[in-house]
C-alpha cells in the first residue's frame, strides 16, 4: 500500500478505537450505575435487574466491538 495511506491509517486507527472505547466506557458506567441504584431500592428484584443490566451492557459493548472489528481487518495492512 501507499506509504502515505499506511501512515494515515496507522495514526488514526488507534485514535478511533480509543474514542469508541471512551463512549462505551461512559455509557456502560451510566447503565451499571442505574442498575446498582435500582438494586439498592428494591433488593428482591435484584436478579431481574441484573439480567437486564447484562443484556444492556452487551448491547452497548457491541458498538465498541464494531470499531474493534474494523481494526482487526486493517491490522495487517498498516
Amino acid at each position: 500500500m501507499d506509504s502515505n495511506i499506511i501512515m494515515n491509517v496507522g495514526f488514526s486507527l488507534p485514535i478511533g478505537l480509543g474514542m469508541a472505547v471512551i463512549g462505551s466506557g461512559l455509557g456502560l458506567g451510566r447503565a451499571v450505575a442505574g442498575a446498582m441504584e435500582a438494586m439498592g431500592r428494591q433488593p428482591e428484584a435484584a436478579g431481574q435487574i441484573q439480567t437486564a443490566m447484562i443484556i444492556g451492557c452487551a448491547l452497548i459493548e457491541a458498538l465498541t466491538i464494531y470499531a474493534l472489528v474494523i481494526s482487526l481487518l486493517l491490522i495487517g495492512k498498516v
Binding site: A52, I54, I55, L73, I75, K77
Partner: protein, 321 residues
C-alpha cells in the same frame, strides 16, 4: 531495551505475518530461528513441511497471531494443494471450518440423545438435567415474549442459545477453535434470525399491517420513515452477527497474542508467564453472555414485530430492553 525475537518458535501458534508480506518457505527444523519482516516471530507451523514453493503459497499466515487447532496441526503435514486454502482471513482451510462446526452439532445431538433416552415420569440424572435446561429456558423466554409466543419460539431461541454457547466454549478447549470466531457462522445465524422475524411479522400482522409498521404514524412522513425503518430492520441482523463475531474472535486473538509473548526476551528478562491464563475467566464470562444476548435479542426482535396489543403478559419485557 527492545524485545528481541523469540529464538524458540512456539509450536502452538500459527506463523503470522504482522506486516502482510509474502511468507518465505520455512525450513523443517523447529529449532531454527526465523524472523519475519520485522516483528516478533509468532511461531512456526510445527514439525515438518513438504517444502517447495507451492507449499509456501498454501500455508496460512494470518495478520494477527492465532492458535493452531488439531486440524491445522494435522494438515500442516499433509496439505500440498493450493486450491484448498484460504476461505477467510481467520480460518486456514475449509476443512478446519467444517470440522469444528460439525463437532458442535454432533456434540449437541449426542447430548440430546442421551438425555431423552428412556424418558421416565420421575426423571433420573441426565433427564433431570435436560428438564432443568429446557424448563429454565422456557420460563425465561416466556417472561420476554408472553405466553403464546413464548411457547412457540422457545425451541428456536433455546436452540440458538445452546448452540452458540457450545460453539463459543469450544474456543477455550486447548486444541480447538471456536466456529463463531468466523464471520460465516455468525452471519448465517443472523440471516436465519432475520428471515424468521420477518416471516413472523407477516404471519401475525398480515401483509398490509406489516407494511404499515414500516410506514409509521404520520402519513406525510412516510417517504422519510420508510427507508429509515428498513435500514433499522437490516441493521439488526448485521449487529447480531458483528457483535458475536467481534467478541469471540477478539477474545481468540487476545489469548493468542498474550500466548505469543511467552519467550520474548527484554534485556535479560525472559517472559515465561502464560498471561492468557489471566483472561480465561473473562473469556468464559463473555462467551456465555454473548450466547445469552443473541438468544434474548432474537426474542426481543420477535416481540417488537408482533402485534402490539399485549398489556398484561409483555410488561416484563420492558425491563429486558
Amino acid at each position: 531495551m527492545e524485545p528481541q525475537v523469540n529464538p524458540r518458535p512456539e509450536f502452538f501458534l500459527v506463523a503470522s505475518n504482522p506486516h502482510g508480506e509474502e511468507a518465505e518457505t520455512h525450513s523443517g527444523a523447529p529449532e531454527a530461528a526465523h524472523t519475519t519482516e520485522g516483528g516478533v516471530t509468532e511461531g512456526h507451523p510445527g514439525e515438518g513441511h513438504e517444502g517447495g514453493e507451492h507449499h509456501a503459497a498454501c500455508v496460512h499466515h494470518p495478520e494477527s497471531p492465532e492458535f493452531k487447532d488439531f486440524v491445522t496441526l494435522i494438515l500442516d503435514k499433509k496439505v500440498t494443494d493450493v486450491k484448498d486454502c484460504y476461505l477467510s482471513p481467520t480460518w486456514g482451510t475449509r476443512l478446519t471450518f467444517y470440522v469444528f462446526y460439525g463437532l458442535a452439532i454432533v456434540f449437541l445431538i449426542l447430548l440430546t440423545k442421551k438425555v431423552t433416552r428412556n424418558m421416565k415420569r420421575i426423571p433420573d440424572r441426565s433427564q433431570g438435567f435436560g428438564e432443568l435446561m429446557v424448563g429454565g429456558l422456557q420460563g425465561f423466554f416466556i417472561s420476554i415474549l408472553g405466553e403464546k409466543y413464548g411457547r412457540r419460539y422457545t425451541p428456536l431461541c433455546g436452540t440458538i442459545f445452546l448452540y452458540i454457547l457450545t460453539m463459543n466454549l469450544m474456543g477455550l478447549i486447548p486444541a480447538f477453535k471456536a466456529p463463531t470466531s468466523s464471520i460465516n457462522t455468525t452471519a448465517s445465524l443472523a440471516i436465519m434470525v432475520f428471515f424468521i422475524v420477518q416471516w413472523h411479522g407477516i404471519r401475525e400482522n398480515g401483509f398490509g399491517n406489516y407494511v404499515k409498521h414500516f410506514v409509521g404514524e404520520p402519513l406525510w412522513l412516510a417517504p422519510l420513515l420508510f427507508p429509515l425503518h428498513i435500514i433499522g430492520e437490516l441493521a439488526k441482523p448485521m449487529s447480531l452477527a458483528l457483535r458475536l463475531f467481534g467478541n469471540i474472535s477478539g477474545e481468540d486473538i487476545l489469548m493468542a497474542s498474550l500466548a505469543a509473548l511467552v519467550g520474548v526476551t527484554i534485556g535479560f528478562i525472559k517472559l515465561s508467564i502464560p498471561f492468557q491464563a489471566l483472561f480465561f475467566p473473562l473469556a468464559l464470562m463473555f462467551s456465555t453472555i454473548q450466547a445469552t444476548v443473541f438468544a434474548v435479542l432474537t426474542a426481543v426482535y420477535i416481540l417488537l414485530i408482533s402485534p402490539h396489543e399485549r398489556h398484561d403478559e409483555g410488561h416484563a419485557a420492558e425491563a429486558g430492553h
